[in-house]
Amino acid sequence: MCASCGFPARPGHWTEAGATSTPDRWRARFRRAQVLRAVLRPYGLTAHEDTQVLGIQLSTLSGHHEIVRDLTEVWASVERLAGVAVDPLDPRYTRFPGEDA
């Protein structure tokens, strides 16, 4: 159990297996936040990571704030906050500007 955040210790999430050294981990966390911000923008949500908080910080436009541990929890929270799941096979991700439906 982490004393500051209360999250129980558990094996690393599979999505975090691509980095082992501390600098690589930081790079991966900031890259993850960058990708998430772009994906979540159309849903009125944003994501943030920093060195103070262990976890991914999600915020809504109305100021609601949540901290989740990993990407699996991100998608569950986003579905709850936005009322719809982010589906990578939604036409918004599979069609490009100017393409017919």
Partner: protein, 321 residues
């Protein structure tokens, strides 16, 4: 026995429908010296087991009877694996340490929840890696089982390797037809023939796959494999964001994902069975020949347009089509 670098025990899951020839196949492998150092776990849905008597060549055998380990017997299975891992951790010597477990499932087990049980357990996930799911298919009766049994189809879909058993019991044309049907159900699995456990060649005659009847409305057609090529612009983090979203939204349709991805932490072997993602295994860096297939990920599923996968991944990475 295995040159694993992360120290986890490799678990081979041997599945297949009732009477599909699982034990006969395993018995022959043990006779031939394969799995010689392995612990064999036999699971029976019934209260009694006869298979342990047949598997006397195994160095050590454990019996789990009275329930499938994928459902009502799951707790007993997890307890047994925890005990085995505990014993192994206490062993001072690493020279004769247990490196492999073979689980022979009951004929009513779905391998998917078994992999999930290990993944979900906070102890086992550190100690055990499911290295292969082998599924036996009866060459004579397999097709009938697939026609009527959803479980039979789920077993096929979960396999890395399909062993067609009792090859002498069916005509070549029927065996070829079954093989073609298996390829439609699971294009990713390697298919091999077997006769009393020994390798048997597959018939060379061409045959069409049998069109299986829909079992209910959720049957969305055959599984299709799609290969994604991850170029230098798609890093692991972007891929992980994308795949975790895909599994959250489409976990019932994406049956399997498998591939090797290069990351700053090394070459990662990524494997999913339905919604379950195993913690990726770090592969050896020094085998140049095996690296040719790196950064290619196969996604197998149904119910969606496969061409959308690559486009969606590029879109997540902020790239043009």
């Amino acid at each position: 026995m295995t040159a694993d670098r992360d120290g986890r025990v490799r678990l081979t899951v041997l599945g297949g429908f009732l009477g599909s020839g699982k034990t006969t196949w395993l018995r022959h492998q043990l006779h031939e010296g394969a799995f010689a150092d392995a612990l064999v776990i036999v699971n029976e849905a019934a209260d009694t087991s006869v298979d342990d008597a047949l598997l006397w060549r195994a160095q050590r055998t454990e019996i789990l009877s009275g329930g499938c380990v994928c459902c009502e017997g799951r707790a007993g299975f997890v307890d047994l694996l925890r005990r085995i891992c505990d014993e192994r951790s206490r062993s001072a010597s690493t020279s004769n340490r247990l490196d492999r477990i073979v689980l022979e499932t009951s004929g009513l087990a779905d391998p998917g929840p078994i992999v999930q049980a290990i993944r979900d357990d906070t102890v086992l996930v550190h100690h055990i890696l499911v290295s292969e799911v082998v599924v036996a298919v009866d060459a004579l009766n397999g097709l009938d089982q697939l026609r009527g049994e959803r479980l039979g189809r789920r077993q096929i879909e979960a396999a890395d390797r399909l062993i067609m058993t009792k090859m002498d019991a069916a005509e070549d044309a029927a065996v070829a037809s079954l093989a073609a049907t298996l390829r439609v159900l699971n294009p990713h699995a390697e298919i091999a023939g077997s006769l009393k456990g020994a390798p048997a060649t597959l018939p060379t005659v061409q045959a069409e796959a049998v069109v299986l009847p829909a079992l209910d409305n959720s049957d969305l057609g055959p599984l299709r494999p799609t290969t994604l090529h991850l170029d230098a612009q798609v890093d692991w983090t972007t891929f992980a964001v994308w795949l975790s979203a895909l599994l959250h939204a489409r976990g019932d349709e994406v049956v399997r994902v498998k591939g090797v991805v290069r990351t700053p932490a090394g070459r990662l072997l990524l494997q999913t069975v339905r919604k379950v993602v195993q913690s990726p295994e770090v592969l050896r860096q020094d085998d140049a020949r095996s690296q040719e297939g790196d950064n290619r990920v196969v996604v197998i599923g149904r119910g969606y347009d496969p061409t959308g996968l690559a486009r969606s991944l590029r879109s997540f990475a902020g790239l043009p089509p």
